[in-house]
Protein backbone atom coordinates (compact mmCIF):
# COMPACT_ATOMS: atom_id res chain seq x y z
CA UNK A 1 0.00 0.00 0.00
CA UNK A 2 1.60 3.26 -1.05
CA UNK A 3 1.14 6.54 0.74
CA UNK A 4 -1.41 7.81 -1.79
CA UNK A 5 -3.66 4.84 -0.97
CA UNK A 6 -3.25 5.66 2.68
CA UNK A 7 -4.20 9.29 2.06
CA UNK A 8 -7.25 8.21 0.08
CA UNK A 9 -8.45 6.10 3.00
CA UNK A 10 -7.77 8.92 5.43
CA UNK A 11 -9.67 11.32 3.20
CA UNK A 12 -12.67 9.02 3.30
CA UNK A 13 -12.37 9.07 7.07
CA UNK A 14 -12.20 12.86 6.93
CA UNK A 15 -15.54 12.75 5.11
CA UNK A 16 -17.07 10.99 8.11
CA UNK A 17 -15.42 13.51 10.43
CA UNK A 18 -17.04 16.34 8.50
CA UNK A 19 -20.36 14.50 8.49
CA UNK A 20 -20.31 13.98 12.26
CA UNK A 21 -19.20 17.57 12.86
CA UNK A 22 -21.88 19.03 10.62
CA UNK A 23 -24.65 16.81 12.00
CA UNK A 24 -23.75 17.57 15.61
CA UNK A 25 -23.20 21.30 14.96
CA UNK A 26 -26.54 21.61 13.15
CA UNK A 27 -28.29 19.79 15.98
CA UNK A 28 -26.58 22.04 18.50
CA UNK A 29 -27.59 25.10 16.53
CA UNK A 30 -31.26 24.12 16.36
CA UNK A 31 -31.43 23.01 19.99
CA UNK A 32 -29.50 26.06 21.19
CA UNK A 33 -31.72 28.43 19.22
CA UNK A 34 -34.87 26.73 20.46
CA UNK A 35 -33.75 26.93 24.07
CA UNK A 36 -32.59 30.55 23.85
CA UNK A 37 -35.83 31.57 22.11
CA UNK A 38 -38.10 29.72 24.53
CA UNK A 39 -36.19 31.16 27.46
CA UNK A 40 -36.59 34.65 26.02
CA UNK A 41 -40.36 34.20 25.91
CA UNK A 42 -40.30 33.50 29.67
CA UNK A 43 -42.93 30.80 29.59
CA UNK A 44 -43.48 29.92 33.24
CA UNK A 45 -43.52 26.09 33.14
CA UNK A 46 -40.89 25.68 30.42
CA UNK A 47 -38.27 27.95 31.97
CA UNK A 48 -37.11 25.60 34.77
CA UNK A 49 -37.00 22.68 32.31
CA UNK A 50 -34.66 24.63 30.04
CA UNK A 51 -32.42 25.40 32.99
CA UNK A 52 -32.31 21.72 33.93
CA UNK A 53 -31.41 20.82 30.36
CA UNK A 54 -28.48 23.24 30.08
CA UNK A 55 -27.34 22.38 33.61
CA UNK A 56 -27.29 18.64 32.99
CA UNK A 57 -25.95 18.62 29.44
CA UNK A 58 -23.13 20.99 30.19
CA UNK A 59 -22.09 18.89 33.16
CA UNK A 60 -21.94 15.44 31.56
CA UNK A 61 -18.83 14.28 29.64
CA UNK A 62 -19.44 13.66 25.93
CA UNK A 63 -18.04 10.13 26.03
CA UNK A 64 -20.20 9.11 28.99
CA UNK A 65 -23.37 10.38 27.32
CA UNK A 66 -22.36 8.73 24.04
CA UNK A 67 -21.91 5.38 25.78
CA UNK A 68 -25.22 5.76 27.62
CA UNK A 69 -26.95 6.31 24.26
CA UNK A 70 -25.08 3.72 22.21
CA UNK A 71 -24.35 0.97 24.73
CA UNK A 72 -26.91 1.76 27.42
CA UNK A 73 -30.16 2.33 25.54
CA UNK A 74 -30.12 -1.09 23.80
CA UNK A 75 -30.53 -2.48 27.36
CA UNK A 76 -34.06 -1.09 27.34
CA UNK A 77 -34.66 -2.16 23.76
CA UNK A 78 -33.63 1.05 22.00
CA UNK A 79 -30.96 0.44 19.43
CA UNK A 80 -29.53 3.74 18.27
CA UNK A 81 -27.35 3.83 15.13
CA UNK A 82 -23.83 5.36 15.47
CA UNK A 83 -24.39 8.72 13.77
CA UNK A 84 -27.62 9.29 15.68
CA UNK A 85 -25.81 8.38 18.89
CA UNK A 86 -23.30 11.13 18.16
CA UNK A 87 -26.09 13.59 17.48
CA UNK A 88 -27.88 12.64 20.70
CA UNK A 89 -24.72 13.06 22.76
CA UNK A 90 -22.28 15.54 21.22
CA UNK A 91 -25.06 17.37 19.36
CA UNK A 92 -27.28 17.83 22.42
CA UNK A 93 -24.34 18.88 24.57
CA UNK A 94 -23.33 21.43 21.93
CA UNK A 95 -26.95 22.64 22.04
CA UNK A 96 -26.66 23.31 25.76
CA UNK A 97 -23.47 25.31 25.30
CA UNK A 98 -24.82 27.20 22.30
CA UNK A 99 -27.96 28.04 24.30
CA UNK A 100 -25.67 29.87 26.73
CA UNK A 101 -23.85 31.61 23.87
CA UNK A 102 -27.19 32.77 22.46
CA UNK A 103 -28.46 33.84 25.86
CA UNK A 104 -25.47 36.14 26.25
CA UNK A 105 -25.79 37.46 22.70
CA UNK A 106 -29.49 38.19 23.24
CA UNK A 107 -28.57 40.31 26.22
CA UNK A 108 -26.48 42.45 23.86
CA UNK A 109 -29.55 43.43 21.88
CA UNK A 110 -30.49 47.02 22.72
CA UNK A 111 -33.56 47.04 24.98
CA UNK A 112 -34.63 50.37 23.48
CA UNK A 113 -34.90 48.80 20.01
CA UNK A 114 -37.07 46.01 21.39
CA UNK A 115 -39.27 48.62 23.06
CA UNK A 116 -39.42 50.64 19.83
CA UNK A 117 -40.50 47.54 17.92
CA UNK A 118 -43.21 46.83 20.47
CA UNK A 119 -44.26 50.46 20.38
CA UNK A 120 -44.77 50.18 16.63
CA UNK A 121 -47.33 47.46 17.24
CA UNK A 122 -45.26 44.38 16.45
CA UNK A 123 -46.11 41.30 18.52
CA UNK A 124 -43.71 39.46 20.81
CA UNK A 125 -42.84 36.77 18.26
CA UNK A 126 -42.42 39.32 15.49
CA UNK A 127 -40.03 41.34 17.61
CA UNK A 128 -38.08 38.19 18.34
CA UNK A 129 -37.92 37.08 14.72
CA UNK A 130 -37.35 40.49 13.13
CA UNK A 131 -35.17 42.30 15.66
CA UNK A 132 -33.72 40.12 18.39
CA UNK A 133 -32.67 36.97 16.53
CA UNK A 134 -31.08 38.66 13.49
CA UNK A 135 -28.97 40.87 15.77
CA UNK A 136 -28.21 38.12 18.25
CA UNK A 137 -26.93 35.71 15.59
CA UNK A 138 -24.41 38.31 14.44
CA UNK A 139 -23.22 38.95 17.99
CA UNK A 140 -22.95 35.21 18.61
CA UNK A 141 -20.52 34.43 15.78
CA UNK A 142 -17.35 34.18 17.94
CA UNK A 143 -19.09 31.90 20.44
CA UNK A 144 -20.53 29.77 17.65
CA UNK A 145 -17.15 29.33 15.96
CA UNK A 146 -15.76 28.31 19.32
CA UNK A 147 -18.46 25.70 19.83
CA UNK A 148 -18.23 24.29 16.28
CA UNK A 149 -14.49 23.92 16.79
CA UNK A 150 -15.12 22.04 20.01
CA UNK A 151 -17.54 19.74 18.19
CA UNK A 152 -14.89 19.07 15.54
CA UNK A 153 -12.36 18.22 18.24
CA UNK A 154 -14.78 15.80 19.91
CA UNK A 155 -15.72 14.11 16.65
CA UNK A 156 -13.09 11.32 17.03
CA UNK A 157 -15.35 9.83 19.71
CA UNK A 158 -17.46 8.61 16.80
CA UNK A 159 -14.75 6.00 16.40
CA UNK A 160 -15.75 4.36 19.69
CA UNK A 161 -19.19 3.59 18.29
CA UNK A 162 -17.86 2.21 15.03
CA UNK A 163 -17.99 5.15 12.62
CA UNK A 164 -14.95 4.96 10.30
CA UNK A 165 -13.97 8.58 10.82
CA UNK A 166 -10.44 9.81 10.27
CA UNK A 167 -8.88 8.78 13.60
CA UNK A 168 -10.34 5.28 13.26
CA UNK A 169 -8.88 4.97 9.76
CA UNK A 170 -5.51 6.14 11.02
CA UNK A 171 -5.42 3.57 13.81
CA UNK A 172 -6.24 0.73 11.43
CA UNK A 173 -3.75 1.92 8.82
CA UNK A 174 -0.99 2.34 11.40
CA UNK A 175 -1.50 -1.22 12.59
CA UNK A 176 -1.16 -2.63 9.06
CA UNK A 177 1.54 -0.34 7.63
CA UNK A 178 3.63 0.65 10.67
CA UNK A 179 3.84 4.20 9.27
CA UNK A 180 2.30 5.85 12.31
CA UNK A 181 4.25 9.11 12.27
CA UNK A 182 3.38 10.06 8.68
CA UNK A 183 -0.19 8.90 9.08
CA UNK A 184 -0.87 10.86 12.24
CA UNK A 185 0.85 13.93 10.86
CA UNK A 186 -1.41 13.65 7.83
CA UNK A 187 -4.38 13.29 10.17
CA UNK A 188 -3.34 16.42 12.03
CA UNK A 189 -3.07 18.34 8.77
CA UNK A 190 -6.48 17.13 7.65
CA UNK A 191 -8.09 18.26 10.89
CA UNK A 192 -6.38 21.58 10.45
CA UNK A 193 -7.67 21.82 6.86
CA UNK A 194 -11.22 20.99 7.97
CA UNK A 195 -10.92 23.60 10.70
CA UNK A 196 -9.66 26.24 8.26
CA UNK A 197 -12.44 25.48 5.77
CA UNK A 198 -15.01 25.73 8.55
CA UNK A 199 -13.55 29.07 9.54
CA UNK A 200 -13.53 30.35 5.97
CA UNK A 201 -17.16 29.35 5.57
CA UNK A 202 -18.14 31.14 8.77
CA UNK A 203 -16.16 34.26 7.84
CA UNK A 204 -17.85 34.28 4.45
CA UNK A 205 -21.29 34.11 6.01
CA UNK A 206 -20.31 36.71 8.57
CA UNK A 207 -19.12 39.13 5.88
CA UNK A 208 -22.23 38.50 3.83
CA UNK A 209 -24.43 39.56 6.75
CA UNK A 210 -22.15 42.13 8.33
CA UNK A 211 -23.83 45.37 9.28
CA UNK A 212 -21.57 48.43 9.07
CA UNK A 213 -21.28 50.23 12.37
CA UNK A 214 -23.20 47.66 14.43
CA UNK A 215 -21.68 46.65 17.76
CA UNK A 216 -23.29 44.88 20.72
CA UNK A 217 -25.24 47.26 22.99
Amino acid sequence: MNFLDILALLARGAGYTVLVTLACSATGLIVGLAIATLRRLRLPVVLPLLDVYTYVFRGIPVLVLLFIVYFGLPGIGLKVPPLLSMVLSLGLIAGAYLAEVFRGALESVDAAEILAAQASGLGRLQVLALIELPQMLRFAVPGMVNEFTTVLKYSPFAYTVGLPEITKQATTLTATTQRGLEIYLAVGLMYFAVFRILLIAVRWIERRYRVPGMVPA
Binding site: A119, S120, I131, Q135, P212
Partner: protein, 247 residues
Protein backbone atom coordinates in the same frame (compact mmCIF):
# COMPACT_ATOMS: atom_id res chain seq x y z
CA UNK B 1 -69.59 73.60 21.58
CA UNK B 2 -65.87 72.98 21.96
CA UNK B 3 -64.38 70.22 19.81
CA UNK B 4 -63.52 66.86 21.41
CA UNK B 5 -59.78 66.45 22.02
CA UNK B 6 -57.91 63.80 20.03
CA UNK B 7 -56.33 62.59 23.23
CA UNK B 8 -57.85 63.05 26.63
CA UNK B 9 -55.91 62.02 29.75
CA UNK B 10 -57.86 62.05 33.01
CA UNK B 11 -56.58 61.54 36.56
CA UNK B 12 -53.80 59.28 35.29
CA UNK B 13 -51.94 57.53 38.10
CA UNK B 14 -48.93 55.26 37.85
CA UNK B 15 -47.15 53.57 40.74
CA UNK B 16 -43.85 51.75 40.32
CA UNK B 17 -43.38 49.38 43.28
CA UNK B 18 -45.19 51.67 45.69
CA UNK B 19 -43.60 54.82 44.31
CA UNK B 20 -46.17 57.22 42.85
CA UNK B 21 -44.70 58.50 39.60
CA UNK B 22 -47.87 59.92 38.06
CA UNK B 23 -50.32 61.27 40.61
CA UNK B 24 -53.39 62.26 38.61
CA UNK B 25 -52.37 63.81 35.32
CA UNK B 26 -54.93 65.62 33.18
CA UNK B 27 -54.04 66.54 29.64
CA UNK B 28 -55.82 67.29 26.36
CA UNK B 29 -54.33 67.21 22.91
CA UNK B 30 -56.33 68.61 20.02
CA UNK B 31 -56.31 67.20 16.51
CA UNK B 32 -53.57 68.94 14.55
CA UNK B 33 -52.32 70.54 17.73
CA UNK B 34 -48.93 70.60 19.31
CA UNK B 35 -48.36 70.04 22.99
CA UNK B 36 -45.09 70.48 24.82
CA UNK B 37 -44.87 68.95 28.27
CA UNK B 38 -41.97 70.12 30.38
CA UNK B 39 -40.59 69.14 33.72
CA UNK B 40 -37.41 68.19 35.55
CA UNK B 41 -35.75 64.80 35.05
CA UNK B 42 -37.59 62.02 36.82
CA UNK B 43 -40.92 63.88 37.01
CA UNK B 44 -42.64 61.17 34.96
CA UNK B 45 -42.57 62.51 31.41
CA UNK B 46 -41.47 59.26 29.78
CA UNK B 47 -43.89 57.30 31.93
CA UNK B 48 -46.76 59.54 30.81
CA UNK B 49 -45.89 58.96 27.14
CA UNK B 50 -45.60 55.23 27.66
CA UNK B 51 -49.03 55.06 29.24
CA UNK B 52 -50.51 56.44 26.02
CA UNK B 53 -49.63 53.33 24.02
CA UNK B 54 -49.66 50.96 26.99
CA UNK B 55 -45.94 50.28 27.06
CA UNK B 56 -46.60 51.10 30.70
CA UNK B 57 -49.86 49.96 32.30
CA UNK B 58 -51.48 52.85 34.22
CA UNK B 59 -52.44 52.13 37.81
CA UNK B 60 -55.65 54.13 37.46
CA UNK B 61 -57.21 56.92 35.46
CA UNK B 62 -58.34 56.97 31.86
CA UNK B 63 -56.99 57.84 28.44
CA UNK B 64 -59.25 58.34 25.44
CA UNK B 65 -58.02 58.47 21.86
CA UNK B 66 -60.61 59.85 19.41
CA UNK B 67 -63.23 59.29 22.07
CA UNK B 68 -62.30 55.62 22.48
CA UNK B 69 -61.10 54.38 25.84
CA UNK B 70 -57.59 52.95 25.44
CA UNK B 71 -56.93 52.09 29.08
CA UNK B 72 -58.51 49.03 30.63
CA UNK B 73 -59.08 45.48 29.46
CA UNK B 74 -60.31 44.42 26.05
CA UNK B 75 -58.43 47.08 24.12
CA UNK B 76 -56.48 45.93 21.06
CA UNK B 77 -53.13 47.19 22.31
CA UNK B 78 -51.25 46.37 19.11
CA UNK B 79 -53.75 48.30 17.00
CA UNK B 80 -53.55 51.19 19.46
CA UNK B 81 -49.76 51.25 19.17
CA UNK B 82 -49.90 51.38 15.40
CA UNK B 83 -51.85 54.59 15.70
CA UNK B 84 -49.30 56.32 17.93
CA UNK B 85 -45.96 57.23 16.35
CA UNK B 86 -43.28 57.02 18.99
CA UNK B 87 -39.88 58.69 18.67
CA UNK B 88 -37.62 57.54 21.47
CA UNK B 89 -35.00 59.55 23.27
CA UNK B 90 -32.11 57.59 21.73
CA UNK B 91 -34.16 57.10 18.52
CA UNK B 92 -33.83 53.31 18.85
CA UNK B 93 -33.36 52.58 15.14
CA UNK B 94 -32.97 48.89 14.37
CA UNK B 95 -29.22 48.66 13.92
CA UNK B 96 -29.23 45.61 11.65
CA UNK B 97 -31.60 47.22 9.15
CA UNK B 98 -30.99 49.93 6.59
CA UNK B 99 -32.66 53.29 6.88
CA UNK B 100 -35.21 52.19 4.29
CA UNK B 101 -35.95 48.91 6.06
CA UNK B 102 -36.28 50.70 9.38
CA UNK B 103 -39.08 52.78 7.90
CA UNK B 104 -40.75 50.07 5.83
CA UNK B 105 -40.64 47.17 8.30
CA UNK B 106 -43.90 47.89 10.13
CA UNK B 107 -45.66 48.68 6.87
CA UNK B 108 -44.81 45.24 5.58
CA UNK B 109 -45.35 43.30 8.78
CA UNK B 110 -48.37 45.14 10.15
CA UNK B 111 -50.06 46.78 7.20
CA UNK B 112 -49.54 43.78 4.95
CA UNK B 113 -47.96 45.88 2.20
CA UNK B 114 -45.78 44.23 -0.40
CA UNK B 115 -42.14 45.26 -0.33
CA UNK B 116 -42.42 47.59 -3.31
CA UNK B 117 -45.46 49.39 -1.96
CA UNK B 118 -43.98 49.66 1.53
CA UNK B 119 -40.72 51.01 0.16
CA UNK B 120 -42.53 53.61 -1.90
CA UNK B 121 -44.36 54.82 1.18
CA UNK B 122 -41.14 54.72 3.21
CA UNK B 123 -39.28 56.70 0.54
CA UNK B 124 -42.03 59.30 0.56
CA UNK B 125 -41.58 59.79 4.32
CA UNK B 126 -37.78 59.78 4.06
CA UNK B 127 -37.89 62.37 1.28
CA UNK B 128 -40.19 64.50 3.38
CA UNK B 129 -37.48 64.56 6.06
CA UNK B 130 -34.58 65.00 3.60
CA UNK B 131 -33.25 61.50 4.27
CA UNK B 132 -33.98 59.83 0.92
CA UNK B 133 -30.32 59.90 -0.10
CA UNK B 134 -29.41 57.83 2.95
CA UNK B 135 -31.85 55.00 2.30
CA UNK B 136 -29.22 52.26 2.06
CA UNK B 137 -27.14 53.30 5.05
CA UNK B 138 -27.27 51.60 8.42
CA UNK B 139 -28.00 53.49 11.65
CA UNK B 140 -24.33 53.10 12.62
CA UNK B 141 -23.39 55.16 9.57
CA UNK B 142 -25.48 58.28 10.12
CA UNK B 143 -25.38 61.16 12.60
CA UNK B 144 -27.65 61.69 15.60
CA UNK B 145 -29.71 64.34 13.83
CA UNK B 146 -30.14 62.02 10.85
CA UNK B 147 -31.16 59.15 13.12
CA UNK B 148 -33.85 61.38 14.57
CA UNK B 149 -35.21 62.12 11.11
CA UNK B 150 -35.30 58.43 10.29
CA UNK B 151 -37.05 57.72 13.58
CA UNK B 152 -39.59 60.41 12.68
CA UNK B 153 -40.04 58.97 9.21
CA UNK B 154 -40.54 55.53 10.76
CA UNK B 155 -43.25 56.95 13.01
CA UNK B 156 -44.93 58.98 10.25
CA UNK B 157 -44.97 56.07 7.81
CA UNK B 158 -47.77 54.44 9.77
CA UNK B 159 -49.95 57.57 9.41
CA UNK B 160 -50.40 57.78 13.17
CA UNK B 161 -53.07 59.84 14.89
CA UNK B 162 -50.33 61.50 16.93
CA UNK B 163 -46.54 61.62 16.93
CA UNK B 164 -45.00 61.44 20.36
CA UNK B 165 -41.43 62.58 20.96
CA UNK B 166 -39.49 61.88 24.13
CA UNK B 167 -36.73 64.44 24.80
CA UNK B 168 -35.95 65.04 21.12
CA UNK B 169 -32.79 67.03 21.85
CA UNK B 170 -31.27 65.11 24.75
CA UNK B 171 -29.23 62.79 22.50
CA UNK B 172 -28.15 65.57 20.15
CA UNK B 173 -25.60 68.35 20.02
CA UNK B 174 -27.19 71.45 21.65
CA UNK B 175 -26.38 73.34 18.44
CA UNK B 176 -29.10 71.27 16.74
CA UNK B 177 -31.85 72.44 19.08
CA UNK B 178 -33.20 75.11 16.74
CA UNK B 179 -33.08 72.72 13.80
CA UNK B 180 -35.13 70.17 15.75
CA UNK B 181 -37.61 72.88 16.71
CA UNK B 182 -37.94 73.91 13.06
CA UNK B 183 -38.52 70.31 12.05
CA UNK B 184 -41.25 69.93 14.66
CA UNK B 185 -42.86 73.18 13.57
CA UNK B 186 -42.78 72.08 9.96
CA UNK B 187 -44.60 68.86 10.82
CA UNK B 188 -47.08 70.91 12.82
CA UNK B 189 -47.58 73.02 9.70
CA UNK B 190 -48.34 69.80 7.82
CA UNK B 191 -51.18 69.08 10.28
CA UNK B 192 -49.37 66.36 12.21
CA UNK B 193 -50.62 66.18 15.79
CA UNK B 194 -47.59 66.31 18.07
CA UNK B 195 -46.85 65.64 21.70
CA UNK B 196 -43.34 66.43 22.80
CA UNK B 197 -41.88 66.08 26.27
CA UNK B 198 -38.63 67.78 27.20
CA UNK B 199 -36.77 69.37 30.06
CA UNK B 200 -35.04 71.67 27.57
CA UNK B 201 -36.52 75.16 27.93
CA UNK B 202 -34.65 76.43 24.89
CA UNK B 203 -36.24 73.72 22.74
CA UNK B 204 -39.70 74.35 24.16
CA UNK B 205 -39.34 78.08 23.60
CA UNK B 206 -38.30 77.49 19.98
CA UNK B 207 -41.30 75.27 19.34
CA UNK B 208 -44.14 77.05 21.05
CA UNK B 209 -44.90 79.56 23.74
CA UNK B 210 -47.62 77.47 25.41
CA UNK B 211 -46.37 74.62 27.61
CA UNK B 212 -47.54 72.24 30.30
CA UNK B 213 -45.39 71.91 33.40
CA UNK B 214 -45.29 68.46 34.96
CA UNK B 215 -43.74 68.06 38.39
CA UNK B 216 -43.89 65.28 40.98
CA UNK B 217 -46.48 63.47 38.93
CA UNK B 218 -49.04 66.19 38.32
CA UNK B 219 -49.55 69.10 35.95
CA UNK B 220 -48.48 72.03 38.14
CA UNK B 221 -48.92 74.80 35.64
CA UNK B 222 -49.98 75.49 32.09
CA UNK B 223 -49.43 78.63 30.09
CA UNK B 224 -46.92 80.70 28.21
CA UNK B 225 -43.24 80.31 29.03
CA UNK B 226 -43.13 84.09 29.28
CA UNK B 227 -45.70 84.08 32.05
CA UNK B 228 -44.34 80.99 33.83
CA UNK B 229 -40.82 82.38 33.96
CA UNK B 230 -41.72 85.85 35.24
CA UNK B 231 -45.15 85.98 36.82
CA UNK B 232 -45.94 82.53 38.21
CA UNK B 233 -46.41 82.60 42.01
CA UNK B 234 -44.29 79.46 42.54
CA UNK B 235 -40.61 80.42 42.70
CA UNK B 236 -39.53 76.92 41.66
CA UNK B 237 -41.51 77.20 38.44
CA UNK B 238 -40.24 80.72 37.74
CA UNK B 239 -36.74 79.40 38.29
CA UNK B 240 -37.24 76.35 36.04
CA UNK B 241 -38.43 78.44 33.11
CA UNK B 242 -36.07 81.30 33.83
CA UNK B 243 -33.08 79.19 32.87
CA UNK B 244 -32.12 78.90 29.22
CA UNK B 245 -31.99 75.14 29.60
CA UNK B 246 -33.64 72.96 32.20
CA UNK B 247 -30.69 70.54 32.22
Amino acid sequence: MSPVPLIQVRELVKDFDGQRVLAGVNLDIMEGGIKVVMGPSGCGKSTLLRCLNRLVEPTSGTIHLRGQLVTGAGVDVRALRQGIGFVFQQFALYRHLTVLDNVSLALRKLRGMRRLEAEQKAMYELARLDMAAHRDKYPGQISGGQKQRVALARALAMDPAVVVMDEPTSALDPLLTREVAQLIQRLHGEKVTLLCVTHDVLLARSITEQVVFLDRGVVRAEGSIEHLSSAHPDALIRDFFGRESGA
